[in-house]
């Protein structure tokens, strides 16, 4: 039989279903997911711009020039739009309503069906740790990032979930576009332009969800301009804010005193 009924859908014994339900219920760590998402967006965007531009124009240099102008045009438009419209709160993309998870949660407990199962220690609180980090610029403190529950309340009060979701995606896309331009400037050995872009990012997105990436780029840009003391101070702040960041060690090495 090519398409047998799945065990979890009734073709298995009760204990098979309980075990498989536990497998489906497993959920990733929200913080790790968020970090991977950021890295993925930034890398993915860089690859796409280059590949498409090269495919269209056939010459790397010309393709890059056009791609940059297009990026600047699109970015300026997007930034203008953002500046004109009030910024909607960004829904936490790590909060996913998963029907599979719900189904697994409703499965009967293993203990009811297996008397040999010993009691294990209760696990610590589940992870749903939306970061509530401090600000990049110390003189302009921003409120903490919205928590999932706040966002849910806000969504219920102000708009349909679909509308909130769309606003969140637009906002994240705009953030990515801004940071991508800063990254491009840095890649072209123009750290001052990168810093301008990052200042702009901070102005547009004081509660931005990609502030970790923004701070990382700022430190790299400052190090490139020779402002090592400032870069070092920001690197310390970065380490304090994001101790688990994969960039922390590299930044530390980057601003290390000679």
């Amino acid at each position: 039989m090519i398409h047998p009924k799945r065990l979890l859908d009734g073709d298995g014994t009760e204990i098979e279903r309980i075990l498989l339900a536990s497998g489906r219920a497993a959920r990733p760590n929200a913080r790790a997911k968020w970090r991977t998402g950021i890295v993925f967006f930034l890398m993915g965007l860089g690859t796409v711009s280059k590949a498409h531009a090269v495919a269209l124009l056939g010459a790397k240099a010309r393709a890059w020039t056009v791609a940059q102008w297009l990026a600047i045009g699109v970015g300026t438009g997007a930034a203008g739009w953002v500046a004109v419209h009030a910024q909607a709160e960004v829904p936490d993309p790590t909060v996913v309503v998963d029907p599979i998870h719900r189904r697994a949660q409703s499965a009967p407990s293993l203990r009811e069906h297996h008397r040999v199962v010993p009691q294990a220690e209760a696990a610590p609180s589940p992870v749903n740790d939306v970061e509530t980090s401090a600000l990049i610029e110390p003189r302009t403190p921003a409120p903490a990032l919205p928590t999932a529950s706040r966002l849910k309340r806000s969504a219920a009060l102000t708009a349909s979930p679909k509308a909130i979701d769309a606003a969140g995606e637009r906002s994240i896309a705009n953030e990515i576009a801004e940071l991508d331009r800063a990254r491009e400037a840095l890649g072209m050995a123009e750290p001052k332009r990168a810093i301008d872009r990052l200042n702009r990012y901070d102005r547009l997105f004081p509660q931005g969800t990609l502030r970790e990436e923004s701070l990382r780029l700022r430190i790299e840009a400052l190090a490139s301009t020779g402002e090592r003391a400032t870069a070092r101070s920001l690197a310390q702040r970065f380490q304090a804010l994001y101790p688990d960041s994969t960039h922390a060690e590299r930044l530390k090495a980057l601003v290390k005193e000679p």
């Binding site: 219920a25 990733p28 498409h52 996913v96 697994a104 209760a122």
Partner: protein, 190 residues
């Protein structure tokens, strides 16, 4: 050059559009990729890194991926990453499962689920890798057989045969567990 851009059949994607596509793809697949890696036996402390590796492979090779087959590409990459990671990792000791859940279940429920997950991991560890791949993709991730054949890169009949054998073995191991508890690592090698 401007004419060429304007008259081109292929539209240049804007950064925002690319970002949205990536955002959707990531949102739709990350949990599944993570679960698949867990189901294929990647040690708990390495699952996050392995998941990141899967997405970075995609980001690097995105231009080569046929549109519409992004999901298959990601899950196929996850299979390969899982195999590589497992080859370099000792077997995980039961009891170290890091069970994290977004909603907050009761202590009893969490304890039971955690224990059930440990048992499931122990049983899946006894399956041959090729049976485990197909079994996990079908039973845990809900892929169809043609999708699985594409991901695992085997003919449909082979995938179906692996699923049948995987289910037989899984059921036998569950029966055995119900009677005697989990087999030891030495027994598993037989």
């Amino acid at each position: 050059m401007l004419d060429r851009v304007l008259n081109a059949d292929v539209a240049l994607p804007s950064s925002s559009l690319g970002a949205l596509e990536l955002h959707h793809l990531f949102k739709e697949t990350y949990d599944g990729i993570w679960r698949l890696l867990r189901g294929l036996g990647v040690p708990t402390d390495r699952v996050d890194d392995a998941a990141q590796q899967v997405f970075l492979v995609y980001a690097e090779r995105r231009a080569d991926v046929v549109r519409g087959s992004e999901r298959s590409f990601l899950f196929g990459t996850a299979l390969r990453v899982a195999h590589v990671v497992r080859r370099g990792s000792p077997r995980e000791v039961p009891g170290e499962i890091d069970y994290a859940c977004s909603d907050q279940p009761s202590v009893d429920e969490l304890t039971d689920q955690k224990r059930a997950r440990q048992v499931l991991d122990g049983i899946l560890d006894q399956l041959d890798p090729e049976l485990r791949d197909v079994f996990v993709l079908y039973e845990l991730e809900g892929f169809t057989m043609p999708e699985i054949a594409g991901i695992v890169e085997v003919p449909l009949g082979t995938a179906a045969s692996r699923l049948r054998r995987g289910r037989e073995r899984f059921s036998a191991l569950v029966r055995r567990y119900s009677t005697f508890g989990l087999p030891s690592t030495q027994e598993a090698g037989r």
